[in-house]
Symmetry: C2
Subunit: 137 residues, 2 copies
């Protein structure tokens, strides 16, 4: 039964009950070597292929939102019609290929440190993210 027990553990530790649906979604999102970028439509398609029975739209959204608020995934700030998520929750940056819609991670180590010369009194910085838009030549 795969590494379901890891996922059970993971869900429990975040106060989420390990249900069939959540475990299935965990498997799609986290049982991979590479970071996974997706939107809800992608995810629904993959789940449909993997499963006999399908998971309702509402559940997919509920689950994704739960995972997001527990910090298992994060939303990517991109201006597209659909919301994109990333299974890489560490502080990192993106290349967005405007020609193909492809999204590629890059990490703090791939950029020289970003030093702000402007600072805002009374505020605290939550995150600094760089979006590099690229196009095919």
């Amino acid at each position: 039964m795969k590494n379901y027990s890891n996922f059970v553990e993971k869900l429990r530790s975040a106060g989420l009950r390990p249900t069939k649906q959540r475990l299935k979604i965990c498997e799609v999102l986290f049982d991979r070597k590479e970071t996974f970028h997706f939107n809800v439509e992608d995810l629904k398609k993959i789940l449909k292929k993997k499963l006999e029975t399908s998971i309702s739209v509402a559940t997919v959204y509920n689950t994704i939102n739960a995972f997001k608020s527990k910090g298992y995934i994060k939303e990517i700030s991109l201006n597209t019609d659909k919301t994109y998520f990333d299974t890489n929750v560490t502080s990192h940056h993106h290349f967005y290929n405007v020609t193909t819609g492809e999204l590629i991670d890059f990490h703090d180590k791939d950029v020289e440190e970003i030093k702000l010369k402007k600072n805002l009194p009374g505020k605290k910085i939550k995150s600094i993210e760089v979006l590099v838009k690229i196009a095919n030549k």
Copy 2:
């Protein structure tokens, strides 16, 4: 009649006919000292206040899209339900206050140059934008 003639000029040079609606929207967007951040809902509200007759939703969207494709405004990459635009079309960055939803510009000169150590062969860089999420202390 204000600086309508500037706007007429501006529209014409981009191949857009200077119509009543477009001029009115120009006035709201560009007749100001500071950069203006807005979404379509904001814009509709402002127009409603300023005008006797109101402009239809479709026209507001058409106009905004025309302005965007002519480079008069640009879309901001933020993950919110609505699409945000900025009258500052130069390359610049944003602070987004997650507590208040407020958006603040900052410029290239307010950050030390962003040097990418990773490069992608066969691609060209269209833009590099930094989004700094902040919160009230």
